[in-house]
């Protein structure tokens, strides 16, 4: 293990986060089993109060999850000098088998936690907690992922061994590494990907606007926004990063959040995460439009969500286009290597 202050902070955040989720799930299960809004039983009153606690807890977890996602990448990047062959976070995450799975789980659980908050907000608008059971089912679904993420993250950091000088010679020759860690990231060819990105984005935005105006095609928009999220991630690796680094061979999706590129990556990723959470929120809430106590407000809220998602995607696209136009890199032909 590497006893680095930032590693300690990461692990602390992971343990605190899963501790809070476990606590929330404990009461969530009780709510699932004993919830009865008609009853005036003491247990029901206690549970009603606990819902406040759980939603507060989960908003903290949600914030913590977002912060720790970035902290995780930051940590991976700052540990780079300790490993032979690692050039940036991409290489460090590859040091053992747990780095990338943790990252994927972090993103996944962040999106799920965001969806939970959307559901929670809608639920709080109704006087009779109409979505309470669904909400806590979703929570019970999220919890194992967050716990698994904590386990993987601990394994990742605890398995790390820095390549330091050994007493016979440099560590390079003692540990018989085959080659350095592959810090190259496989990527899609840039130019076709650019076409895909822009056409998919215009489709998604059109669908979103159509839904906002006419109220039709909500599920399609939710699906498209998820698809668009994945397409955008691939695009960042494939061509957006190239324009930001102004280097036709550097595909790293992590270096853009570093100081050298004026932290532009934070803005890009925040827009993207915000867009996908609100876009998926549309799909998550649509089935409940007919619920009696929510009828009055839910339609408006869903439309607002869709609008927010469309605006965030549009802002993302605008930012990306600005980066491409203002970059001094010109991709005339594909670099094959």
């Amino acid at each position: 293990m590497i006893l680095h202050p930032t590693v300690i902070a990461n692990l602390l955040a992971a343990y605190i986060g899963s501790g809070m989720v476990l606590y929330a799930v404990f009461y969530g299960v009780q709510i699932l089993r004993h919830w009865d809004i008609q009853s005036g039983h003491e247990l029901q009153l206690v549970l009603e109060r606990k819902t406040y606690l759980i939603s507060t807890l989960l908003s903290y977890v949600f914030g913590l999850q977002l912060l720790s996602l970035f902290l995780y990448i930051f940590t991976a990047d700052s540990l780079t000098p300790l490993f032979v062959g690692a050039m940036c976070a991409a290489g460090t995450l590859n040091v053992d088998g747990f780095g990338y799975p943790t990252l994927v789980l972090k993103i996944f659980s962040f999106i799920l936690a965001g969806l939970w908050l959307v559901l929670n907000y809608a639920d709080n608008q109704g006087y009779d907690y109409p979505l309470i059971k669904k909400k806590y089912l979703l929570l019970a679904f999220i919890a194992p992922f967050i716990i698994l993420e904590t386990i993987l993250e601990s394994a990742y950091f605890l398995n790390m061994e820095a390549d330091v000088i050994t007493s016979c010679c440099g560590s390079l020759f003692s540990s018989e590494r085959v080659t350095g860690i592959g810090s190259e990231i496989a990527s899609m060819p840039a130019l076709p990907m650019m076409w895909i990105f822009y056409s998919a984005m215009s489709g998604t935005l059109l669908c979103g606007i159509f839904f906002y105006l006419k109220g039709l095609g909500g599920y399609l928009y939710a699906a498209l926004s998820l698809l668009m999220f994945l397409v955008s991630l691939v695009s960042i690796v494939s061509f957006i990063s190239l324009y930001i680094y102004e280097l036709p061979t550097h595909h790293c999706p992590f270096c853009i959040i570093m100081e050298d590129y004026s932290y532009i990556g934070y803005l890009l990723y925040m827009l993207l995460f915000g867009a996908v959470v609100s876009g998926l929120g549309v799909g998550a809430l649509l089935p409940f439009r007919q619920v009696e106590s929510l009828q009055a407000m839910l339609g408006g809220f869903i439309r607002k969500l869709a609008l927010a998602s469309v605006i965030l995607y549009a802002a993302f696209t605008a930012l990306v286009s600005y980066e491409i136009v203002s970059s001094s890199l010109v991709i005339a032909y594909e670099v094959v290597y």
């Binding site: 109060r49 606690l53 330091v164 000088i165 016979c168 440099g170 020759f173 100081e259």
Partner: protein
């Protein structure tokens, strides 16, 4: 949206005035919180700045250093090996080095004696000679600067720390006891500039001939070699070839030195944080206690708020803003205090623990170096635990029934 912002503004307004109404209790918490942030921030700023300093200096270090190992220990390097290494393809130049330590029993300190590369000593006209490896580039620090001093046989150029310790300066004489017991007297030709004191504090520059006389090393041996390699991606290959041709040699690559230093400082910093985690834990318990032990007045206040129409979620929001105000005030004042402590007062509190011990202490000022990573880490180590510790007490306070709250406090 506008309404929402207005609502938050009123809640913050209310929160701050209610915080100010209970000055003593809240300032106690704030002071303790600031202290915790201050301690952790000082540790982190100090280790990161030292790490930065070390990496800047090492950037100018040679790509490969080759030592000879006998029975697992560092030994003198046979000069005949130099040709073997020169013949390896990719090697740009090979330079032999003479350096060692001399223990001065008078002041019980170790000096580092070094023979500067031959090219520097032969530049008497230069006013300030900056000795720096070419590969270092702009950002690398010079290892030492000769302030116009000229090194001749029989003279020494000494580092600032030595000058301070022995209270000597230019043109003074300094006696040494050679390997055979004879006394050798050297004239001080100059003192190194203080800018590089972190590394040159205990340094003494001496000519090769004098060095050999002092330590009894014959012409066929040197201390070690530095190897320059033109293409950075060939460094590892050259090092492995040296190891192959000369099995008793120990090539050390610059990156490995950097990596090892990094690990050591990471470890020291991490160790300090683990030690201080006990303090953080104590603070978290304190915060928990503070937050859950509501005074009668506070209970009544919450009761009245709820009676006049505040919802549970409003009270939670109020408490959230209370936590945010306290946390951010403590966090920023702690960080600013730590910044002053580390970079302006030379971290008087932690210096002995983090720097190690030596009778020849370098006096140096760290270059301020603070980045987002350090601040985020600090935030996670202090604000996050505090926030989490207060959630449950906050919720408990916010769900008090108005009637019971008011009835309870009617004593």
């Amino acid at each position: 949206m506008r309404n929402w912002i207005e609502k938050q503004r009123y809640i913050i307004d209310f929160t701050i005035s209610s915080l100010l109404r209970r000055k003593v209790k809240n300032f106690g918490l704030l002071a303790l919180y600031t202290l915790i942030v201050f301690i952790l921030a000082s540790t982190m700023f100090f280790t990161y700045a030292i790490k930065k300093e070390a990496s800047l200096i090492l950037k100018g270090a040679p790509e490969i250093v080759v030592q000879k190992i006998v029975a697992g220990r560092h030994d003198l390097f046979p000069a005949s090996y130099i040709e073997t290494i020169k013949s390896i393809r990719g090697v740009a130049s090979v330079e032999s080095r003479l350096w060692g330590y001399y223990y001065d029993s008078l002041v019980s300190a170790n000096y580092t004696l070094l023979t500067p590369p031959s090219s520097d000593a032969a530049k008497p006209s230069a006013k300030t000679t900056v000795v720096e490896s070419e590969s270092g580039g702009q950002s690398a620090r010079p290892l030492y600067e000769l302030n116009g001093a000229v090194l001749e046989p029989g003279t020494l150029i000494i580092g600032n720390g030595v000058a301070r310790l022995r209270n000597i300066g230019k043109d003074d004489y300094m006696p040494f006891r050679a390997f055979d017991g004879k006394v050798m007297n050297f004239r001080i030709a100059g003192v190194l500039s203080s800018q590089s004191e972190l590394v040159s504090s205990d340094l003494m520059l001496i000519t090769g001939e004098d060095f050999r006389k002092l330590f009894g090393i014959d012409q066929s041996h040197v201390t070690d070699l530095t190897v320059a390699v033109n293409n950075p991606s060939e460094v590892e290959m050259v090092a492995s070839k040296i190891k192959k041709h000369l099995p008793d040699a120990r090539p050390i690559i610059r990156d490995e030195i950097l990596r090892t230093y990094d690990s050591i400082f990471n470890w020291r910093g991490g160790m300090m944080i683990v030690i201080f985690s006990a303090a953080v834990l104590a603070f978290v318990i304190f915060a928990w206690d503070k937050a859950s032990g509501l005074s009668a007045g506070e209970r009544r206040e919450i009761g009245i708020l709820k009676a006049v129409g505040w919802e549970t979620s409003d009270v939670i929001q109020m408490k959230f803003w209370e936590g945010a105000v306290v946390s951010l005030t403590a966090f920023f004042s702690g960080v600013i205090l730590a910044y002053v402590h580390v970079f302006f007062t030379g971290s008087i509190v932690f210096e002995p623990a983090l720097k190690g011990w030596s009778s020849l202490y370098p006096n140096f000022e760290l270059t301020p170096f603070v980045n987002l990573e350090q601040l985020t880490t600090l935030f996670f180590l202090t604000v996050v635990p505090y926030t989490v510790a207060t959630i449950v007490p906050i919720w408990r306070a916010a769900t008090i029934d108005p009637d019971s709250a008011m009835r309870f406090t009617g004593e």
